[in-house]
């Protein structure tokens, strides 16, 4: 039921964004289509099962977006610095990090955030270990690498997705 409602809401938002209007007849058409689509697609999906719909969860979602944007800009400054430096200062390697997150959606968000933040790229995901290509390896140890890469996002995602 929760999945159905969230899928419906997402589809309605997409419909409104595409049509860029709030006229009631268009909204009605969109609602009918969205109900059918979410019934058809969401028979047994569990994508949004663990989402917390509390004020705290919503607040943390917005905060997470803010942190993410800041990291994205930082990562681009980092990339620019490395690319334009004639010496090309890189020290790449693949490190292993651990995550506590169980929800699939949260893990996808975590992997995408890691890919878009300074110097890291998710190469593979096996159970609770993420294998990360790091452009400038500071620490090979699992614990300290996790602290460096994962924790800044994990603490928000943990609240939002339980």
């Amino acid at each position: 039921m929760k999945n159905f409602i969230i899928t419906f809401l997402i589809l309605m938002v997409v419909w409104v964004l595409l049509n860029n209007t709030f006229q009631p007849d268009i909204l009605l058409v969109g609602a009918v289509i969205a109900v059918f689509l979410s019934l058809f697609m969401c028979k047994r999906c569990e994508l949004f099962q663990d989402m917390n719909f509390t004020p705290k969860g919503i607040f943390y979602t917005i905060w997470f977006l803010g942190v993410f944007m800041v990291e994205l800009i930082k990562s681009n400054l980092d990339v620019t610095k490395r690319v334009l430096n004639p010496a090309l200062p890189i020290k790449p390697g693949i490190v292993e990090v651990k995550t506590k997150l169980k929800s699939k959606f949260a893990r996808m968000l975590l992997a995408n955030s890691i890919t878009l933040t300074p110097g890291t790229l998710t190469v593979d995901v096996v159970d609770d270990s993420f294998f990360i290509h790091w452009i400038d390896v500071k620490d090979e140890d699992i614990k300290s690498a996790s602290k460096e890469i994962v924790e800044k996002f994990e603490k928000y995602l943990e609240v939002i997705y339980g």
Partner: protein, 117 residues
């Protein structure tokens, strides 16, 4: 109104400069994985900034542009992750500067799983 348009135009210009940095990085980086790093991050932010600039210039079009930004933010990391995973699987070599490869020594990851029908 004028000021907003000017800010938008400058945002778009910044985005295009970041795209330029991305292409320079693509030329300079030594191996596939480093190129993917530069390619994903810089193109994503560059495109997002260009689209944000257009939103500021033409506020009436925000719907589709916001959808486009969401789409780029969702798909670009996923596609580069799939590419990186594929290129590790087919053993594309690392550059000599690489210091560590935990994926090789990890027993969990070495077992390649197949889908069976």
């Amino acid at each position: 109104m004028e000021i907003l348009e000017l800010i938008g135009a400058i945002t778009t210009l910044t985005g295009s400069l970041i795209l330029l940095v991305a292409s320079i990085g693509l030329l300079r980086m030594p191996d596939v994985y480093n190129r993917l790093q530069v390619g994903t991050k810089a193109t994503t932010l560059g495109t997002i900034l260009s689209l944000l600039g257009i939103i500021l210039i033409m506020p009436g079009w925000w719907g589709k542009l916001v959808l486009l930004i969401f789409f780029v933010m969702m798909t670009s990391p996923v596609s580069s992750h799939v590419l990186a995973r594929a290129s590790y699987f087919i053993k594309i070599p690392f550059t000599d500067k690489t210091v560590v490869d935990k994926l090789k020594v990890s027993a969990k990851a070495r077992k390649v799983e197949y889908e069976k029908k």
